[in-house]
Amino acid sequence: MADRDDTAAAGDLGPVTTLATPIRLDFEFTPGVAQSRFLRGLERGRFIGQRCPKCGMVYVPSRGSCPTDGVPTTEDVELANVGTVTTYCVVNVPFAGQSIEIPYICAQVLLDGANISFMGLIQEIPADQIRMGMRVEAVWVDPDRLTPSLASVRYFRPNGEPDADYESFKEYL
């Protein structure tokens, strides 16, 4: 109907088929009060979680509420530097924003004392030797490079303890 003779005739460039519309927007971001406490803990080389006053579960990080009760989590709980790999995958695919050489292990780590796992990088072990239940410890960046960010945790590595029993973490899969 439209892209015919008269419009294309004017030049040999051919019809316009795409339009570049770059979009750049700037924001001031805050993660909120509760998550900031977690992040400030990372800056000190510590994992700080928060306990729900109703169900007693410990969230790390807490976004400020207990996701099941909908009430504020207020009691800070310092967690261990060690935990258990509940499940994992091996990342073999390059993608934009990736900063680690593939293949590498991406695991759900359940810190001792927490009731929720979070995703962490596992190193110092070949990718084919990772196991569900493996005990791991956090390796932090040098003290002078600690920041309020998960980048302060370089990675987790096996700490040599015997694997956790499947029954002990199967509720967290």
């Binding site: 088929t17 795409t18 519309t21 979009i23 971001f29 993660p31 998550q35 992040l39 169900c55 579960m57 410990v58 969230y59 207990c66 996701p67 099941t68 509940t86 499940t87 994992y88 995958c89 091996v90 990342v91 073999n92 695919v93 993608f95 934009a96 924003g97 990736q98 900063s99 680690i100 293949p103 991406c106 695991a107 759900q108 009731n115 929720i116 979070f118 995703m119 962490g120 990088l121 990718a127 569900m132 309020p148 960010s149 998960l150 980048a151 499947y166 199967k170 509720e171 967290y172 899969l173």
Partner: protein
């Protein structure tokens, strides 16, 4: 009491990696006009329009119902926009259906779409935020650990995922609208495809597609169209939090509760026996056996056995995703609606080469977020 509601028109685009021949409006109109034609209606016959899509950042077009209102003949009418993450195509259809079952409208057009190629799906799904964890895994990396957990729990052999990948791609060969048409797909090809997120291989993951889906829904006194109506026998949505202590991400309770609700409405007590065909949101191969269990088609831990037995294959007793499913076409915002639309096509007998003969009751399911948002409907050829 709720009014009866039926699907009387369906339309979808040819889904492709890049639909570089159309604008966003052109894409949605392709599906919408096809649905109107199927229902023998024009824009003026429609009372209200409900659209859905995944994040606006895919196209960089905020609240697109505003720009798309005239393109979908919505001027002067109610126009509504739904966004519930990956389940959005399903929930959009449900919001549209409630506009009928509540008695408010007679005919509603519902459309879902994604034009992912305007940007990059991987970018739009994981826009890096300050203070967030470094980007570790990408989209499939979120789900791969849960797949491993399923394998551990059920003892499923590793080739099950490959069977699903082959089955759905072979089904796609019967569907002219599917994005992926891999004629020579077999177990070996899947096994030799690149390992992306171990245990997930390239050919076990969904593509990224441009595409749109549309349906015309009608009340009982406003039926039209060339094919018999697909009556809605049950519909439900359920959500649970993204992360909480003791959350079962392999077999989420929100999915179980949602199916229990929809089955109760539809009078289904034995899904495997009573449901003739299902379209279920399976973006990664292993989600077929996982959802077989979650949706109650078998006992816990037995989903993979059903897949292995061929029960879910085109000639099985409960064919799943005869259209090729999300594994063969994945315009994210529309993927859920395509599930709902495909089962309507089945019970209307208009699915062409991927039609299951005699299909009378069918289940459509969509899920989204971290397996936390579910929407489902059961449609049938009989009036409920």
């Amino acid at each position: 009491m709720a009014e009866r509601c039926a699907v009387i028109g369906v339309g979808q685009t040819h889904h492709k990696a890049k639909r570089d021949d159309v604008s966003i409006a052109g894409l949605v109109r392709e599906a919408a006009k096809m649905a109107l034609a199927d229902a023998d209606l024009t824009w003026t016959d429609i009372d209200a329009v409900v659209i859905g899509k995944a994040p606006d950042m895919f196209e960089g077009n905020m609240m697109p119902e505003l720009y798309l209102a005239p393109a979908l003949g919505a001027v002067g009418k109610p126009m509504f926009r739904v966004h519930t993450a990956g389940s959005v195509g399903g929930s959009t259809a449900l919001v549209a259906a409630h506009l009928i079952s509540s008695g408010i409208h007679k005919r509603v057009l519902t459309v879902a779409y994604e034009k992912q190629s305007d940007s990059d799906a991987m970018w739009a799904l994981s826009v890096p935020q300050p203070f967030a964890a470094p980007l570790l895994a990408g989209a499939g990396g979120y789900f791969a650990p849960h797949i491993r957990a399923y394998m551990r729990r059920s003892g499923a052999p590793e080739y099950i995922g490959r069977m699903v990948a082959v089955k759905d791609r072979r089904n796609a060969m019967r569907n002219p609208y599917a994005h992926l048409h891999i004629a020579d797909i077999d177990m070996k090809m899947v096994e030799e495809s690149m390992m992306l997120w171990d245990p997930l291989r390239y050919l076990e993951a969904c593509p990224s597609s441009d595409g749109a889906a549309a349906m015309v829904l009608s009340s009982e006194d406003a039926l039209s169209g060339q094919y018999p109506p697909a009556w809605i026998h049950g519909m439900a949505m359920r959500s649970e939090p993204t992360m909480f202590a003791g959350r079962d991400q392999v077999n989420p309770r929100a999915g179980r509760d949602c199916s229990a609700d929809v089955y109760a409405q539809a009078g289904i007590t034995d899904p495997r026996r009573q449901i003739d065909v299902a379209e279920v949101y399976v973006p990664f191969s292993w989600y077929e056996p996982m959802w077989l269990e979650n949706l109650g088609f078998c006992d816990l831990g037995d989903g993979w056995k059903l897949t292995e037995s061929g029960a879910t294959a085109f000639d099985g007793d409960i064919p799943w995703n005869t259209s090729g499913g999300v594994l063969s076409s994945n315009p994210i915002g529309a993927s859920g609606m395509l599930r709902f639309l495909e089962v309507a096509m089945q019970v209307r007998g208009q699915a062409g080469e991927h039609q299951i003969g005699g299909a009378r009751v069918a289940l459509g399911q969509a899920y989204g977020g971290g397996s936390q948002f579910f929407s489902m409907w059961v449609v049938g050829s009989d009036k409920p």
